[in-house]
């Protein structure tokens, strides 16, 4: 998904939109991973500021263990303490900031650039036989080395896997 971000930045900027990526990981973790991926978009850490929690993409260990996390305007089971989402804000001339929209889960399909191409191809997304829809996705530098965990939990970090 974020592989498609860099090419969009200049176009968005010319439509009065700034795109920023946020994670709860520390800035040093983010910088190292971003360098490995060769990404340029702005990526900041929300560690300790409650932002991810307030916008329902970070969950407590207890919520994960109980299988009840607040996600996608529902209470659902979730495998890790971090979830994907997109949140949109507007700032007026007076500097006041408003939350206008957030979307999660398949609401993010539209941001998956590869999906938009695959939907035009004969095999489509070709995910019917997979344990979950996005199970085929790897980091762009990991498709060739066959680095997969077990088929039900491919490519999850050890910390995330043990928490689930």
């Amino acid at each position: 998904m974020t592989d498609h971000f860099d090419g969009s930045l200049v176009h968005l900027a010319n439509r009065d939109v700034t795109l920023v990526v946020v994670s709860r990981a520390l800035r040093t973790q983010i910088e190292a991973f971003k360098k490995r991926m060769g990404w340029h978009f702005k990526w900041v850490s929300s560690f300790g500021n409650g932002f991810n929690r307030d916008y329902h993409v970070s969950f407590t260990k207890e919520e994960v263990a109980k299988g009840k996390v607040p996600y996608n305007y529902d209470t659902v089971g979730f495998g890790t303490e971090e979830g994907p989402g997109a949140s949109v804000f507007y700032k007026n001339a007076g500097g006041e900031v408003f939350h206008t929209y957030s979307t999660y889960a398949r609401g993010l399909d539209i941001l998956v650039g590869a999906y938009n191409f695959l939907d035009l191809a004969p095999k489509g997304r070709d995910e019917d036989g997979l344990p979950f829809t996005m199970a085929w996705i790897r980091h762009h530098d990991r498709y060739t080395d066959g680095k997969l965990a077990d088929k039900d939990r491919p490519y999850w970090p050890a910390v995330a896997a043990s928490a689930s």
């Binding site: 998904m1 709860r24 989402g85 996005m134 996705i137």
Partner: protein, 99 residues
Amino acid sequence: MATQLTSAGIQGHDVVSPNEWIASRKELLRKEKEFTKLRDELSRQRRELPWEKVEKRYVFDGPNGKETLADLFDGKSQLIVYHFMFGPGWDEGVPAARL
């Protein structure tokens, strides 16, 4: 990796004459246009959602040091935040979620 690829929708697929093909394509085009208009309408309704004021002062840590949510707008009036799954202590961000 090959185990992840199937022949879904490929085996035994209909092959037809150009005239039949264009007729089928035009029928799908009718549905595509219907969907496009529905999507435009959905986007319009998304923009019409009410807003909520952000009262908290969030401070982020990034390449420019400490920045507030208001700072992240970087001179624009609209900000899109993508929440990337990457927690403290993880080796790397996660590209896909089991939902």
